[in-house]
Symmetry: C2
């Protein structure tokens, strides 16, 4: 395999070394402007390399303007190539990343991680191969900011059938996960008018950070076991939007009943505010049929956000927004400026997965799986804590909340539990007004099996002060 | 394959229909609060469906709070479920997307599209298969916002060897293309202090929109055939950063010589501003070795942005930022809030592609290919226009610029060329101060072959007024 000229100099370590050596001497003025370079032959001899190597280095120096032609085919050091600050010799040390996605060294009750050991890798791989075989140059080029039509069509069908959402494919905007969805929605809505945004308290701390990063001013409204307490919506806030998780409130786990939905819609209409309905794990519902989206009640007032992170896998990074028609143009522009569009391949694989029925089957199988795991967790909690623990939000999703009346999950206590080998997550971390949820933990169960759940809850029990 | 209960109601059209029917009657108060529902048996008989179907619909209505238990196991319509605005029957029509990635119905000289017909689809597919075979649950879960370590390591090696960039893998932040890179960089830098940002004029209109969307105030500085005219940098602007494309200025195509680089660095240091160096197609250089990045001169002062859109394919959506260590934490946080992280699979495939040497080989083969295509284009221009056309920016990248002295590319003229079957792109679209580049076209050649280039230039010649 031959390397063309244009890549030779930099690929050849010797030439690159000589280039850098001479360049740095010019930049630091130890080879002053106007100085005539000694011949390539001489350099080659002195450095113990071939003349071709030196020639390549000198060519590059000339191309970048360090050297210029002099008399009798000599090369002169060009003027204006001296840096006041000498070229950096050292690079300051850079911090390593801190993010840990899931701790396999613990029994990790982290919420928001699906059971990835059951993901149908081979199926995905097969469909991915089929998609690649049919890829055209057009598929490899830039795509529409709103996402591939194939996927928007399938998402529309799925949302209509499973989630009670009412929309057309043109209303779907494919995003890089629900994080980007919320970021784009916040940017567009907050830019329009008012910076205030009503958030559930407790509610996802991550979501609030995304909204705040776009200039949102968070107005907290309490949430309880039935989601946002709509009676407490402030009459004077003039919010741009109300961010809710009605199908499975994060973190408390409740489902918002229709009465509150009606109140919320009335409030939104009176205040000309939008409702941003985030629904990330509402597909998994255990004791009753899945609850329909608020979006289905008044599609013009609600922006619906979904993701495939919980139903398929998080590192896929595909989510979507259902946008009311008057906002479509602005949302597409915001997406285009954020990252042009989401990668095409995943979109095409996903479209086929839904179209061919595999997605519905996977959802059904995972629902069954999670229902069993949830039962194991509830049994273990009951066995170890009996009436001492009060369990919330068990009807859907991949986590439950547990209140331990009289216990305060202080950093010291959490650290003790961690050292004992168990990861638990306090609701208090997601509270805006502090001090009301210090006795409550979020226990995610998506990734855990029978043995880990039992051991984990037994260890938790041992770590808590006797009540 | 059995569907668990939780998905039955919504998957079954009859149950969903009955659910929606009763729900809408409750929402519109035609079934008033407190009313006792007729029995499931009666509904089943009236609607001509099975009792199980009705039972599923009623269960869901109860789960969502529309119905509540009444005396003698009857069901009552719950209070508070009446919507003032009746549920929307119609969805306003949504506009279809407008974006066209590349026009195959034209001879399209669109810049910024690589030759996708030569992309090694099978190789990518094979490596992708290998990566999937080795995927662990951890790979499927959330990943670090900064991107996969495997890819950051390979990008560091590639940048060091090919682009003269000096960095550690910890300084690399993987982004969803260069669009997101510029968006994140703008957000972090503009938040810090000052809203002003110096841009090349003419310079990419798209880039300016991204910067402006993050609150940047664009201060134009002229660019010519050697990139930004550093003599014209304003002494009073106090910019947050200077956005430049020194290896292949967009759109004019020039390479910035070291003298201007030194001036630019001096300016940035005096004004405590950063230089944002965008380098999207500098890998393809035809007449001399590739030019090193400004970043290599003073790594602490320069933020380097790259992408794989031009070297591999645009719909991949993978780019990267080389971040000076003091800004790393903030950039990672901004990335996390933008979309958490870029999809993992592409990162792993790309890492292996670079590591195993395929990427360097592909670059070399494409460079050779583009050099030939460029020669064809220059020949065609020379044949048809001779001295009438002045060609700029031929040394690198996937487009050239051509000045046609005396010609004004008005919308009427551009439309005439379009109707004749040729797509050309005026530099004037990318100019801030208008009126200086009306005679200049951008001609991209990445996707075109011999025949199309010749026909396209012949048609262009026919469309222009005789001079």
């Amino acid at each position: 395999m031959s390397i063309p000229d244009s890549h030779r100099a930099s690929r050849e370590p010797a030439a690159a070394r000589i280039f850098a050596l001479i360049r740095d001497r010019i930049l630091s003025a130890s080879l002053p402007p106007g100085e005539q370079m000694i011949s390539a032959q001489q350099i080659a001899r002195e450095m113990g390399v071939s003349r071709t190597v030196v020639k390549n280095a000198l060519d590059q120096l000339a191309a970048e303007g360090y050297l210029q032609p002099g008399p009798r085919s000599s090369l002169l050091v060009a003027a204006g190539a001296v840096l006041r600050t000498p070229p950096a010799q050292e690079i300051a040390s850079a911090p390593p990343g801190k993010f840990v996605p899931f701790r396999f060294d613990l029994i990790d009750f982290r919420p928001g991680v699906p059971d990835l050991s059951r993901f149908p890798v081979r199926l995905w791989q097969r469909i991915s191969g089929e998609v690649w075989r049919q890829m055209t140059p057009l598929d490899l080029s830039y795509s529409q900011p709103e996402g591939r039509a194939e996927l928007r069509r399938e998402i529309t069908r799925y949302l209509t059938a499973f989630r009670g959402v009412r929309c057309q494919p043109e209303q779907i905007l494919i995003t890089s996960g629900s994080t980007q969805a919320l970021s784009i929605v916040s940017r567009v809505l907050l830019r329009r008018t008012r910076p205030a945004c009503i958030s559930e308290d407790p509610g996802s701390a991550e979501s609030r950070q995304i909204i705040a990063a776009m200039g949102g001013r968070i107005v907290p409204v309490p949430a309880d076991e039935k989601g946002l307490v709509t009676d407490e919506l402030p009459q004077r806030a003039r919010p741009s939007f109300i961010h809710v998780t009605p199908s499975h409130q994060f973190p408390l786990g409740g489902t918002m009943p229709v009465q509150r939905r009606v109140q919320l819609l009335g409030y939104a209409q009176r205040h000309s505010a939008f409702i941003v309905e985030e629904d990330c794990d509402g597909d998994f519902r255990y004791d009753s049929p899945p609850v329909s989206a608020i979006q289905g009640l008044i599609p013009s007032r609600v922006i619906y956000i979904g993701t495939f992170s919980m139903t398929l896998f998080p590192s896929l990074r595909v989510g979507f927004i259902v946008v009311p028609p008057p906002l479509i143009e602005e949302m597409r522009n915001a997406k285009r400026r954020a990252d042009f569009h989401t990668a095409a391949l995943e979109q095409l694989v996903l479209a086929r997965l839904i179209k061919d029925g595999y997605f519905a089957r996977h959802l059904a199988a995972m629902s069954k799986n999670y229902r069993q795991t949830r039962t194991l967790l509830l049994d273990a909690l009951h066995r170890h804590f009996g009436g001492e623990a009060r369990i919330l939000g068990t009807a859907s999703g991949l986590h439950v909340c547990v209140r331990f009346p009289g216990i305060r999950f202080t950093p010291t206590l959490l650290n003790r539990i961690d050292l004992a080998g168990v990861g638990v997550y306090p609701v208090e971390d997601h509270a805006i007004r502090k001090g009301r949820w210090e006795d409550t933990l979020i226990l995610g169960f998506g990734m855990l099996d029978d043995r880990r759940i039992n051991t984990g809850i037994a260890i938790l029990k041992r770590c808590l002060p006797a009540s």
